[in-house]
Structure formats: C-alpha cells, structure tokens
C-alpha cells in the first residue's frame, strides 16, 4: 500500500533522514521506531508532503505522491495524526470532526462515520460542544485520531499517539489501534513505547540518526538485546 524508496529529508545542513526505504502492505500495522531525533516524524511528514523530501520516491496505492501537497494526498486516502495531537483548540469537538471530513460531501455518510467515532470514543460524544483546547491530553489524542478517521483513510500514519498520556489511557489507545486494524485500516505507527508498539505490530523498522538500523518481524525485534535496544531508544528505560 505504501512504498518509500531511498527517502532523504534535510533541514538546511541537518540531514534528518537518509536513504530510507520501507513498505507497508495492506492490512498491516508497521512500527517505525528509534530514539529521540532519529528522524521518525520527519519521515511521516515527508510521506504526507508536509515537509519536502530532498530525494527519494513515495508511492501510495500504486501511485506516486512525491511532491504532492498534503491536501492532495489526504484526498487519496492517506492521513496523519501528527505528533503532539494538534487538535484545533478554538474549535469544538464537533467542529474538529467536521473538518476531518472536509474532503467528503455526503452528509449521511459523514454522519455514519461520526457515529462510529463516537462509538470508539464515547467520551467525545459527551463533549461535542466543548472547545478542543479545554479537553484533557488523552481526550485530545482521541479527538485527533477520531478527526483523522473522519476522512475514512485507507492508511493512517500515527505519530506517537501515547506521548505524555497516563498508563490507562495508553492502554486504551493501543487497544484502539488494534481494533482499527480489524476494521480494515492499515497503520504505520511511530512510537516511543517500543514494547507496546511491537506487541500489536506485524513488522517494525528501527531508525538511527536518520538511517535504517534494523528491520524485521515484530517478534524478532522484541527479542533483540543490548545495543540493538539502544537503537530503539530503550537505553535509559
């Protein structure tokens, strides 16, 4: 479904990602791991067209999306729930969800998707008219994911959904990711909670200083030790 080939991302003199190739097949959960600053967010942002790729190719659903603007890519069925949630704080929960469906026209179908989102996150249904900026961190993360789902993506890029959340909420988010897959969604997941991510993922890639350090089945990566775990950002855990 997604094929990234020889991707490079630079910010001036900073080479955040170099020569990265990865694939995500339909129905998979793929984890993208690495220490702080390894280039995970840069990869997702470049795939989404939010930052320009210095070189390399990105193909989504058999079509090149290199150089396309994010608003075009979203319309093709791939979206990103960005790191740090980025809900629109001055808009209500309902308004955030409505913007998530901005690419769609049919009212009924949008209603149905919203009902599904409320079923996944009942707490959002209780907060429909509340401003997103006044939600708790966990609620904001649910809203950010719910908003992404409103566009009915085929592939969802999730950037650190468990960042800064209480353990129970983290459990809830990981449960949710697993449930989304059973509903036919393909997911590329960036996470700091390496073990949790590898529990639900099929495969994983590990970045180190912007380059691919390891790749493999989730089980193999979980079994790795020592310096390899350090690459995943687990040195100080």
């Amino acid at each position: 479904m997604l094929a990234v080939d020889d991707l490079a991302v630079s910010y001036g003199a900073v080479h955040a990602v170099r020569g990265l190739s990865l694939t995500v097949a339909t129905g998979e959960i793929v984890a993208l791991l690495g220490a702080n600053g390894a280039g995970k967010s840069s990869t997702l942002n470049a795939v989404m067209g939010l930052v320009p790729a210095a070189s390399g190719r990105v193909e989504f659903a058999g079509q090149s999306v290199s150089g396309l603007a994010p608003e075009r890519i979203v319309r093709l069925g791939m979206t990103l729930t960005p790191e740090g949630r980025h809900v629109f704080p001055n808009l209500s929960v309902d308004e955030n969800l409505a913007l998530g469906a901005a690419t769609r026209n049919e009212r009924r179908a949008i209603e149905a998707t919203r009902a599904e989102v409320f079923e996944l996150f009942p707490v959002l249904a209780e907060r429909r008219t509340q401003l997103a900026g006044t939600l708790s961190g966990g609620e904001q993360q649910m809203l950010a994911i719910g908003r992404s789902l409103m566009s009915v993506p085929k592939l969802l890029l999730l950037d650190e959904p468990s960042l800064g959340l209480a353990p129970q909420i983290v459990d809830l988010i990981f449960d949710l990711i697993a449930r989304l897959r059973t509903r036919g969604l393909t997911i590329l997941l960036v996470e700091q909670s390496v073990d949790r991510a590898l529990e639900i993922a099929d495969r994983g890639y590990v970045l180190r200083n912007g380059q691919l350090a390891m790749a493999g089945r989730a089980g193999e990566l979980r079994a790795s030790t020592g310096v390899e775990r350090a690459y995943m950002g687990l040195a100080d855990v």
């Binding site: 608003e71 979203v74 979206t79 629109f88 704080p89 409505a98």
Partner: protein, 296 residues
Amino acid sequence: MDVFVQHVVNGLALGGVYALLSLGLALVFSILGLINFAHGELLTLGGYAIYGGLAVLALPFGGAVVVAIIATAVAAMAMERVAFRPVRDASAASMLLTSFAVSALLQVVLQNAISPRGKAIVTPAFFKQAITISDLVVGSIQALSIVATAILLLLLMVFLRSTVLGLAMRAAAVDFRTTRLMGIHANAVVATAFALSGILAGVAALLWVAQSGSVRPLMGLVPVLKAFIAVILGGLGSLPGAVVGGFVLGFIEVFLRAYLPGAALEFREAIALLIVITILFFRPQGLLGRRVEAAR
C-alpha cells in the same frame, strides 16, 4: 440624555466602519501573519468603483454599490494572487514591504490615471435625511452604517461557524499546517481570507463615501491606520477582538469630539491614541487577545 444616546448612535456608526476594516485586516493577518497596508487602497478602489459605476456606467446608486463590492473582492483576490502569493513563504518583513509597495503603486496609478484631486460623488437624497425614532433623530447614513455593519458581521459569523470553509478559516488562523492535513487547500483558505477582506472593504467604502461625498486617491490612508490601531487594541490575531477594537476606537473618537473642551478639541486624535496606549499598557495583549507565552 438624548444627546448621550445620539453620541452612542454616532459611535456605533463610526465604530462600525472601523470594525469592518479592522476585521478585514485581522482576517488576512490571522491566516498569513501579514498586516496588509494595501487594505486602505481596497477602500479607495471601492470608492472609485462607486464613482465609476455612477459617472461612467450611469448605474443607479445601489447598482454602483454592488459593482464596488464585487470590484473590491476581486481586487483583493488579485492582490493576493499577484503580489502576496510569490512571497508567502518569505519573512513577515518581506510581506509587509510588499504590502507597502502595492499600496504606493495603487495610489500612483489612481493619481495618474484619474486625477490627483478628489471627485465628487452624488449620493442619493435619502442620505441627507434623518430618521426619527420616537424622540431620537438618527441620520440615515448613521442608520445605514449600523444596519450594514450588523448584517455583515452576522453573515460572516454564520459563515465562520457553519460552513466547512469557515471552520477551516478559523482552524488555519491557529494551525495552518494541520488545516491542510484535513484536505483543505491552502490557496483556497488564503484566497477566501482576501475575498472576505475585500467585501468588508467594499461595504466600508460605501459608508465612507456616503459620509464624505467624494473620493480621493489617498482616501484609504487614514481609515487603514485607524483600522490597524483597532486591530492592535482588540488583540492582534483575534477576529472578535478586531470588531471590538473598531467599535471601542469609534466610541473614543466620537465621545472625545463631543465632550472635549474647545481648546483641547484639536488634540483629539492624539488624546484618542493616548487612551489606546493606556489601555494597551494594562492589557498588552489587547482587549480580547491571548497572552503570548514566552517559552514555547
């Protein structure tokens, strides 16, 4: 007491014009971070479009106003497309300088193509009449200003609250990048901001011209400065703030003109600014602005 109510009406009328202009500035600023000093020239163009509609096309006054509002909306979008889009990713200073250049260019073009002097506009006789509501006498221009401002603000509010594009405008004001992730075209949001600012400037032009009865190439200068002050007063980046700032500034000016003793009257602009600065001293973020956090 009657006199006081009269001043309130005048304050609403003048403040309404400022509010329309400052809201236009604020809409563009909230999306692009650009203070568009050429906004005053949109008002000027609106004035000349009314003049042209009447004198050249021989339209009835209402028709000339419709032409003017369409013209300012189109001019604002053209301004964005031609002048601001190429520098959209440049620094705020570059965009500001661009807006000065556009402003100066339009002034020179109007001075040379039409006349450096003003042109009189024949306003409908109705504008010279007064409307009597019980014992209150309201000039029809004041009444028009208040009604037009109220309708326009209401329409804009409905647009911003209940259409997807309106929601996107509010979202983009806070987080442009994430708005694009929703599938909203960046250019559509920016163009809409300019079009709305143009419509607001067109209506402000009608109210300004109705008041002054003439158009001049530099007529936009003072109102855009006032609108800029109103934007800062209300809180840079806040749309409701821009409206509130416009009305507050209008009230300050009207009440100073009414209640200052004769000798101080000629300093009323300076005194008005002093009041604004005093307010900003106690609320540096403006009346409705959010305090910007130092660390982020």
